[in-house]
Symmetry: C2
Subunit: 372 residues, 2 copies
Amino acid sequence: LKQYRIVVLPGDGIGPSVVAQAIRVLELISETSSTTKLILEPHDFGGCAIDKHGDPLPPSTLKACQEADAILMGSVGGPKWGPEAKVRPEQGLLRIRKELGLYANVRPANFASDSLLSYSPLKPEIAKGVDMIVIRELIGGLYFGPRQEQGDGDTAYDTMVYSVSEVQRITRVAAQIALAANPPLAIHSIDKANVLASSRLWRRVVTETLKNEYPQLTVDHYLVDTAAMLIVSNPKKLNGVILTENMFGDILSDETSVIPGSLGLLPSASLAGAPASPSDPSFKPTTGIYEPIHGSAPDIAGKGIANPVGTILSAAMLLRYSLGLEKEAQAVEAAVSKSLDDESIGGYGARTADLGGKATTIELGDRVIETL
Amino acid sequence: LKQYRIVVLPGDGIGPSVVAQAIRVLELISETSSTTKLILEPHDFGGCAIDKHGDPLPPSTLKACQEADAILMGSVGGPKWGPEAKVRPEQGLLRIRKELGLYANVRPANFASDSLLSYSPLKPEIAKGVDMIVIRELIGGLYFGPRQEQGDGDTAYDTMVYSVSEVQRITRVAAQIALAANPPLAIHSIDKANVLASSRLWRRVVTETLKNEYPQLTVDHYLVDTAAMLIVSNPKKLNGVILTENMFGDILSDETSVIPGSLGLLPSASLAGAPASPSDPSFKPTTGIYEPIHGSAPDIAGKGIANPVGTILSAAMLLRYSLGLEKEAQAVEAAVSKSLDDESIGGYGARTADLGGKATTIELGDRVIETL
Ligand SMILES: CC(C)[C@H](C(=O)O)[C@@H](O)C(=O)O
Ligand SMILES: CC(C)[C@H](C(=O)O)[C@@H](O)C(=O)O
């Protein structure tokens, strides 16, 4: 019997309510498995941790995360800890990424069901079949390079810096994830090599790493401005893996995330650890944070109508990447797709308000659990 | 009689052919005006200048541009001067922007006619009414900050640096352009102030400059990732002026540019000079480069089917900003809209292939000239 410690960080706003549904899914899998036991352990993180401990990432939470096999997170932030506040939830987010070495942010954008096409802002003929995974370098570049606040001076700066090894390791994660699909996914590397020195390094290292270590994969290169166009005008051209640096990935992954119609639907993983060797195409991170891409949605918090799908699919990613339970991950994904199309709840599928449905967070969770 | 010197840089690929149609428009205005005479002067720039002079921006071209009242440009670049080449057309582009001090890039994105809605990748109900002007800082930030190539070392970096006065002057241009509309446009300032020091300076200076000098204008602030989402999911929320720094502006302006359905339709201006005082809401640049947003499109160069609308509308912007001929600018814009909807050419409007039409570049130019 394999035991895994999963730290749960419910966070703020709708976080606790969507996390609750993902916990039900993980508990069901733990209970029904004869080989795997999951021990779930909640901790304070984000705005609620600022209120309780004066720190979005209290030392006890960090320690628990460092010792965990994986982390499931809800969402952090809210108007209470706005941009003017001295201590802010996103500082905790940036710090935990760095402390745990979570350099690989993985964000799929696809349609859990074709019936959701009507919610996309894109015309159906353009949106149909979109299936992208953004892989964003998460602890380098402008986010963590040397910076100077304005202070008493007249200027401020940030530095977009990358080293060869930083680009190599994220390229390998992208390659492993591309290879895990059958047939392997195409890799689209995004940079601004016609202007930026760091992008020229990026392009060179991506090209060489793939050529030397993964010659079976195909890669092309797009400038970030061209990619920003294509994601709207012809997103299928970027189907497969979109590999990019931290700041560009922040922008492009949010841009891709609105194609499937509701932010409430999409999961993410932020992973640490060296990928397996080129010959073993399954990426086994040493740890990871799994969370929906949506925010804490203070406007609907407490109403019981938040969409738990993004968090449940994040739990599926946790099963896949951190625990190696691919079969269970696919079962959860299938149960979600089926529930969204289940017309037994008044003919509209088990859908929450973001998709024009009337299901509550718990009802949609019920349906996934039943289907599973 | 006022005489103006306009330098024309036809450039590469489809550049010369689309510029030819805009020249006809400017010549017509010059011939029929009793107060204004335009002297058009062609010069080499871009790939063709590399071939002829070994330099995308030969000294004679630079000198002519420095002495001109305004510059009309086609497009530069092509596979011949690809990313591997030592001397590349875009180096000329970056250098001319810096040499002329063109710090304000102005890019409208709207529908010349509602009948073009069907070409948008967005659903009509989302696209209809989109009317944005991106104002991008063009000679600061990551593009021109200190940089280090990888070379023999292990890292490379670029610096995103802004000074108070750089942000002040671009804010004033945005304010003047917002005020020139009736009612004044809303200003949406885009940054990444939750992470970047340069963005915190940006947000502070934009806020203070508008509060102190243009209290009648409204401004809100969005994070760049949120803006990238909104442009797809709810672009009208950003109607008005989108004000942002160089790198974010490069990405977001390309993203907005695909909403109107064809890149061939959209103009741009890159302007220098101190804006007029807050009390005189008409921005008079000292010089400017006016060019379509599309590239040199080597795939269709020489076929005579390129859409000249973006270049003709760029000439309209030239009339508006550099020559102060607002009436004439509006007349050109109206003639373009009318021509696009003119069903006399086989019932499809005078539209080029990018809009599914059969008009040639010259036929569409003919129609605009006739209408004018
Ligand atoms: C909250 C913010 C610091 C964060 C980021 O920019 O990385 C967020 O936008 C994200 O993408 O996770
Ligand atoms: C060609 C390139 C250097 C340029 C830029 O990034 O500024 C282009 O993308 C633009 O937007 O005018």
